[in-house]
């Protein structure tokens, strides 16, 4: 059993009283992340300021046998930073220093609590930016981005977080510190940076992160095209890809989401559109000019009835404003909504959207679609009213059917939000038991005692056994019959 008082004393000895939160009322602040439907109040919260403190905190957790969960800004949408009841929540919000800016080598080294947008702000004057741009970039942390392998609208061309992290300092679940990768490429040995990014806080705590920054493009051109239906918009997307163009971003919104943002931030999108596309090209001027004309033509050929071209940064910002505010604007349409993050091969788009409309009619629930059309990452929003008897359950069921539909077309259950707590039950729809067991071999190498963000990602926790060497005494989870030895 957790000796809470002793753990608090030990943590305070490392962090001082101001670095430890233990009153229940204050702990409530941390009971959920961006997905508020899961809530757990942690036993205590600690706020380390240095990597060394993180290491000492994790060592104490080990010695006391207490599970722990890292938390960045708490904007995750899959319950990844959901606390463990009898556990410690390690919050990174006091580790917010940008440690090094190395323009000649196009690298920035940061602490995990640094906010995504700060990196770009730091290097903008030198003509650089940090490419992965989740819509939450004003608040989410780089540590959280690393854990989730976060994406953004511009990832179609520039890749995801994993393509922009070259080095990590990690406190392993047993308190040991390791340095993986660095500023230089091709570090000999396994690519554990690649394995760590996207591991959703289950392989340790990143305490220092080396990022690749990208030169600002010479030219950026953005257009907004309105179509009568998502089918036509989808046709235009296929046409753009078939023409050998790799846009910086291609985003689609359907009529319901357009209606929502018009009630909210009022971007003034074309009236009567069944779907709009935002297409952005960037790169060297001559290249962009040439391809932009092609994109415009392809949109017209696919029956776009109105095309607007951003003439300056303000107009571009307005086009994006509606798109970036889409989730938040759903509040204007419905008291509650359920966000999905499934991915499909781009070419399956028309068929999946049609079938989704049928499902929506069958369930009598509206589904709004706002998505990264270029890479097939859908964000269907199932609208419902919790006050109405049984509607929440129906909404979740419908969301599940949409997931299954996407998987039938060779897709994925999550493109950028992660599995976390929320989607682990769907993992067996995508992977076999062997697939999941083999993934967990990696977890066993990092966290053999199953203390680091336990219970996330995998539907069936597996204990690791000791390899090699003598077996330890039974793990509490195993004693309780909750997990099998693996």
């Amino acid at each position: 059993m957790l000796d809470r008082e002793r753990v608090i004393r030990r943590m305070e000895a490392v962090l001082g009283p101001e670095g430890v939160i233990s009153e229940r009322e204050k702990l409530r602040t941390y009971e959920c992340d961006g997905l508020a439907s899961y809530r757990v109040i942690p036993s205590l919260v600690v706020l380390p300021e240095t990597a060394e403190q993180v290491q000492r905190v994790v060592r104490i957790c080990n010695e006391e046998g207490v599970p722990f969960v890292a938390r960045g800004s708490g904007t995750g949408l899959s319950g990844g930073a959901l606390p463990v009841e009898e556990g410690v929540l390690i919050v990174m919000s006091r580790m917010r220093r940008i440690l090094e800016v190395d323009i000649p080598n196009q690298r920035v080294v940061v602490e995990p609590g640094v906010i995504n947008l700060w990196v770009t702000e730091e290097v903008a004057d030198a003509g650089y930016y940090y490419a992965p741009d989740p819509s939450s970039q004003l608040v989410c942390s780089i540590g959280g981005n690393v854990a989730e392998n976060s994406g953004g609208a511009h990832c179609l061309k520039y890749g995801f977080t994993t393509n922009h992290v070259t080095g990590l300092e990690v406190v392993l679940p047993d308190g040991q510190m390791v340095h993986l990768g660095g500023k230089a490429p091709d570090t000999p040995g396994y690519d554990l940076v690649g394995a760590f990014v996207g591991s959703e806080g289950t392989l340790g705590i990143a305490t220092k992160i080396t990022l690749r920054i990208v030169r600002k493009p010479e030219a950026v051109r953005t257009l907004l095209a309105a179509f009568n239906s998502p089918d036509e918009a989808g046709g235009a997307v296929s046409g753009i890809i078939a023409a050998g163009i790799v846009p910086a971003a291609v985003e689609m919104m359907d009529s319901l989401s357009i209606e929502a943002v018009e009630r909210g931030v009022r971007p003034g999108y074309p009236k009567g559109a069944g779907a709009i596309l935002i297409v952005e090209l960037d790169g060297p001027e001559a290249e962009v000019e040439h391809q932009f004309e092609q994109v415009e033509r392809i949109c017209r050929e696919n029956d776009s009835f109105e095309i607007r071209i951003a003439q300056n940064d303000e107009e571009r910002a307005l086009m994006w404003k509606g798109r970036k505010a889409a989730f938040a604007a759903m509040g204007h349409m419905s008291p509650d909504y359920y966000v999905q993050d499934s991915v499909i091969p781009r070419t399956a788009l028309p068929e999946v959207l049609r079938r989704m409309a049928e499902l929506s009619a069958e369930y009598g629930l509206r589904v709004a679609n706002v998505f990264h059309a270029g890479d097939g990452n859908l964000h269907p929003l199932v609208l419902y009213d919790e006050e109405k008897e049984g509607e929440a359950e129906r909404a979740e069921e419908l969301a599940g059917e949409i997931l299954t539909l996407c998987l039938e077309h060779g897709g994925s259950i999550t493109g950028e939000h992660g599995v976390g707590e929320d989607k682990k039950k769907h993992m067996p729809k995508m992977f076999t038991e062997d697939d999941l067991n083999v993934m967990q071999l990696l977890r066993c190498a990092f966290d053999p005692h199953y203390l680091c963000n336990p219970g996330k990602v995998f539907p069936t926790p597996r204990l690791c056994g000791e390899v090699p060497g003598p077996r330890r005494e039974l793990h509490p989870v195993q004693k309780a019959g909750l997990a099998e030895i693996f």
Binding site: I103, P104, N105, Q106, R107, G127, N149, C155, F160, L172, H179, K183, A184, D186, T187, P188, G189, D191, L192, G194, A195, S199, I241, A242, G244, P284, A286, E287, H290, Q291, I344, P345, R346, T347, G376, N377, G410, S412, T414, G415, E416, H417, G418, V419, K423, M427, M430, F431, D434, D435, L436, N437, V438, M439, L442, R443, C444, A445, F446, V457
Partner: protein
């Protein structure tokens, strides 16, 4: 350890004609295996590995065999598991810019198939005859990594067979996907020590419509560094930035790819920038072919010594100077090339006795590692590899890497001894 298996046991799994006794050419760093087995399906790979690991036999996966020299000499070798027959392109979804291929498909064959749709896998290692599985395992890359990244950035799904025969898949066939751990990255650069890669799924790119090359003659290391920096921090988006260097001077080539008007404008801009640091010009087509055929091969002969130094791009002048200074002191005249935009430099050494080779490499490595980089001995006679560790230091991460190895291949049957720290 029991060794009671006979080739007959393997013949029962893969068919008689697909098992043969090994010949001296199958040796890896002088270690000759007993047999070569060529399974024709994922299931057969699984059965072969079950047999081998049950008997404690040491297995080396092999594709086209272009990289069998990479790594420390094997600590044991009984079976070569050839992926040659796993040579099917499973799917080319052109509209999705995705292709699924078995591990034994040769890169050049895949490229040919993809080119029908004006698409490509944006990997260009010097060995086009290498198989995709081998390229992933050895993390082979080429000049265009500057723009497109390396195998880790393009591989979106993988199927592997572990030493105990377990078949597992990770990732998928969509470009954007964060479900589960990214085993594609774990297996990239794992040199066959974690499992046998049997299938791979790739993100593709459109073939650029046009290309051009701008070359500059550089008279010293400082100008080489400055020239590279001037391109990197410009708004140009070069496909590659390649250097060839010898005797304190050399040539830098910038590959520009895109649409025709874009290539022309970027080429002019590149010439302008490079002109500040040396004589620079835009090449015509025939000169271009000649230049690239001179730039692309590794700067060493077969049988010679090849080093790969990975550092930061701004460290280029320092690398060029220290390579020439240090190896020069031991009597070498190094041949140097490199992906200058990404900090990768290749060094070829010929001649010299073993003592001076070992000493020069050791001294060079210390300097490189002190500056946060790495030096890998990518080609060398086995005797030298027994004296100079191939990979160099992995810092404080080695123990963790061992733990990973021990979970995936607890019996150390896959390519034992070849990888970092004797993994």
């Amino acid at each position: 350890m029991q060794r009671t298996l006979s080739p007959e046991d393997f013949r029962q799994v893969v068919g008689g004609e697909h098992v043969r006794e090994a010949v001296p050419d199958d040796a890896v760093d002088g270690v000759v295996p007993s047999i070569v087995v060529e399974p024709g399906s994922v299931e057969e790979v699984s059965e072969v590995l079950k047999l081998a690991s049950g008997a404690g036999l040491k297995v080396a996966p092999r594709g086209s065999g272009t990289k069998m020299e990479l790594g420390n000499p094997p600590a044991g070798l009984d079976v070569i598991l050839s992926t040659r027959r796993l040579n099917r392109i499973i799917e080319h979804a052109a509209g999705d810019l995705v292709a699924g291929v078995q591990a034994g498909v040769r890169l050049e064959d895949l490229q040919e198939e993809l080119s029908g749709a004006n698409q490509m896998l944006a990997l260009d290692p010097p060995e086009a005859e290498g198989t995709v599985g081998g390229i992933v395992a050895a993390d082979a890359s080429g000049p265009r990594r500057l723009r497109y990244g390396t195998a880790r950035d393009l591989l979106i799904g993988i199927t592997v067979v572990l030493a105990d025969g377990t078949v597992a898949r990770a990732g998928g066939k969509v470009v954007k996907n964060v479900a589960g751990y990214d085993l594609s990255k774990l297996f990239t650069r794992s040199l066959g020590t974690l499992g046998v890669i049997v299938e791979t799924i790739w993100r593709l790119h459109p073939v650029p419509f046009a290309s051009g090359t701008v070359a500059a003659e550089l008279e010293d290391a400082a100008s080489a560094g400055a020239a590279v920096q001037s391109i990197l921090h410009s708004s140009l988006v070069p496909g590659a930035l390649e250097l060839r260097w010898r005797g304190g001077r050399g040539r830098l080539a910038v590959l520009i790819e895109g649409v025709k008007p874009g290539v022309e404008a970027q080429s002019r801009a590149a010439r302008e920038l490079l002109g500040e640091h040396g004589e620079a010009r835009i090449l015509d087509e025939s000169e271009e072919d000649e230049l690239w055929s001179e730039l692309l091969p590794m700067p060493w002969e077969s049988g010679g010594i090849g080093l790969k130094i990975a550092g930061v791009p701004a460290g280029l002048p320092d690398v060029l100077e220290s390579v020439e200074r240090i190896t020069g002191r031991y009597g070498f005249e190094p041949e140097i090339s490199g992906h200058a935009g990404t900090g990768v430099t290749f060094v070829g050494l010929s001649g010299g006795d073993e003592d001076s080779r070992a000493a020069a490499i050791g001294e060079l490595r210390r300097g490189v590692e002190e500056r946060g980089g790495s030096l890998v001995l990518v080609q060398a006679p086995a005797e030298l590899k027994r004296r100079v560790e191939v990979w160099g230091s992995t810092g404080d991460a080695l123990q963790l890497m061992r733990r990973v190895k021990e979970r995936f291949d607890p019996g150390y049957i896959l390519n034992p001894g070849r990888f970092v720290g004797g993994i």
